[in-house]
């Protein structure tokens, strides 16, 4: 009796093991062609990919896998060959990436804009300021809490650019009011809403963000706050395994009249989040 019991149990154990191994194999084999896109968090968090990718999948049969990280990390990921296409928003880093031979070329895709959000009580009195640099100067001089991404993302790079234009970056002795979250846009907005702090955000993430509480947009509309996104195909020269054909097809689709119309039609709460740029850029 003991012996048959044992046999049954070992048979069961073997079955479990086989199932596990089979699921491992099954899980790792992708169905149909697929590409990996390293992208900024805003395009994913705003729901744009959730809206576009199923349409692309139906029309082309290509499965797009998006890894949403900050621009800096996305670029490093692509440099290591772990992505086929880049979708990011920091022009200087993008040009460097292409010039160093990692990317084929930079294609303008769309833009939206950055906004400075802060508590409705506005302790630094920046509401109505048109120049974002002026707003930051007031935040600094009143030592009101400012929450920075601090994660080398496109938005973080832009924020640092604005401080630099003021003469100097926040230093260590500014730590009482200048806080680095080291996290994505949403997580940073969560902190800002918790501590009633100011924060630079892309508009798409802000509109879709569900935990605004006291926060509201205080500064917007200045050309310095324009936020253009571009696409770059990772170079086959650097990484021979890159899926160039499918990657190029994805870029062509997004920048086509059809793709650009879809981007323009995407709305959250009735608000357009991204404005197509590709057709204009192609004319130039």
């Amino acid at each position: 009796m003991q012996e048959t019991h044992r046999k049954i149990l070992s048979a069961a154990a073997v079955l479990v093991v086989l199932a596990a191994v089979a699921s491992l194999v099954f899980l790792s084999s992708p169905k149909g062609p697929s590409i990996t896109v390293a992208s900024t968090t805003s395009t994913e968090n705003s729901g744009l990919f959730g809206y576009l990718l199923p349409i692309f999948m139906t029309e082309t049969g290509i499965n797009v896998r998006v890894v949403a990280v900050g621009t800096g990390q996305a670029i490093r990921m692509a440099m290591k060959g772990d992505a086929d296409v880049l979708l990011v928003h920091h022009r200087a880093s993008e040009e460097k990436f292409v010039n160093e031979g990692y990317g084929v070329e930079r294609t303008a895709l769309m833009h939206n804009d950055f906004v400075i959000v802060g508590p409705a009580s506005d302790p630094a009195g920046i509401k109505g300021t048109e120049d974002p640099a002026d707003a930051l100067r007031r935040i600094r001089s009143s030592r009101a809490t400012f929450v920075s991404r601090g994660d080398d993302s496109g938005t973080h790079k832009r924020e640092l650019g604005l401080w630099k234009a003021l003469g100097s970056l926040p230093r260590n002795d500014d730590a009482d009011w200048y806080r680095e979250s080291g996290a994505g846009q949403g997580a940073t907005l969560n902190i800002a809403s918790e501590v009633d702090g100011y924060c630079l955000s892309d508009r798409a993430t802000w509109v879709k963000f569900a935990n605004k509480r006291n926060l509201e947009i205080l500064v917007q509309g200045d050309p310095q706050l324009l936020n253009p996104y571009s696409l770059i195909l990772v170079s086959k020269q650097k990484h021979p395994h890159v899926r160039t054909a499918e990657g190029q097809q994805f870029i062509d689709w997004l920048t086509s009249e059809h793709g650009q119309e879809l981007i323009a039609a995407y709305r959250v709460d009735g608000q357009q989040l991204f404005f197509p740029d590709a057709l204009e850029a192609a004319k130039e």
Binding site: L24, S28, V67, A210, H241
Partner: protein, 234 residues
């Protein structure tokens, strides 16, 4: 408090309607963590038993190492596996980065020391008890290993379930090696991190509730099995 009750309401609503996205995420979590635990157990049970039974130079060091590795930080494991599986890394050609297989490997590494250390301790204790009996039967090392593993099965299962608890609850490793790709590598813990960052606390809390439920079920199993095992030996 108001926010908490709002989030709870959304969470219960999502659970009640069995939202397909939610189900997909829960199933992927279970598949990844179960596969990781089964693989880890396959390697750790014989190895732990071998270390317990066979004296060899440096065994003390191995035992200390196994115990220390039980508290490996998941983010460190994630980072190391990421560097190994990256296209420019030594195992880049496998193309496993950002797939569930990569997540299974990472969790396997996390769970392996727990099962191995517990197996070693269990088999070591049982061996003290049954050494003479086994020797009188003229059992070889392999036969000793299988006999003692079978004898300690209840305690070993407790260790395996503890490993499963660690695997399914960790976020640091899977978010790095999996990339949190929707419909592909998005599991419960990475979704909670993402939804929290989007300020969408209802979905995050809903998944949190499922995770806690799984933890309760697993721990009930641990207590039940552990309890019946200790009664038998008494």
């Amino acid at each position: 408090m108001d926010e908490f009750s709002n989030a709870s309401r959304t969470a219960l609503h999502l659970l009640a309607e069995m939202h397909p996205d939610l189900i997909e995420i829960v199933l992927l979590s279970l598949r990844v963590s179960l596969s990781a635990v089964v693989l880890a157990a396959l390697l750790a049970l014989p190895l732990g038993a071998f270390v317990a039974l066979k004296p060899f130079p440096g065994r003390r060091g191995i035992v200390i190492l196994m115990n220390a590795l039980m508290s490996l930080p998941p983010v460190v494991v994630g980072l190391v596996i990421y560097l190994l599986l990256s296209r420019t890394g030594p195992f880049g050609v496998t193309g496993l980065l950002f797939t569930p297989a990569a997540m299974i490997i990472a969790q396997c590494v996390l769970v392996f020391p727990i099962i191995a250390a517990l197996t070693r301790q269990t088999v070591f204790d049982l061996h003290e008890e049954y050494d003479e009996y086994l020797r009188s039967l003229g059992a070889g090392t392999w036969q000793k290993i299988t006999t003692l593993l079978w004898d300690g099965r209840a305690r070993l299962l407790t260790g395996i379930l503890a490993g499963f608890g660690r695997a399914i609850a960790e976020v640091g490793a899977v978010i790095i090696v999996g990339g949190n790709i929707v419909h592909s590598t998005r599991v419960m813990t990475t979704t909670i991190a993402l939804e929290t960052s989007k300020g969408d606390l209802g979905m995050a809390l809903g998944l949190g509730i499922i995770l806690v439920l799984i933890a309760v079920v697993v721990n009930t199993a641990v207590v039940t099995i552990g309890g019946s095992a200790s009664r038998r030996t008494l």
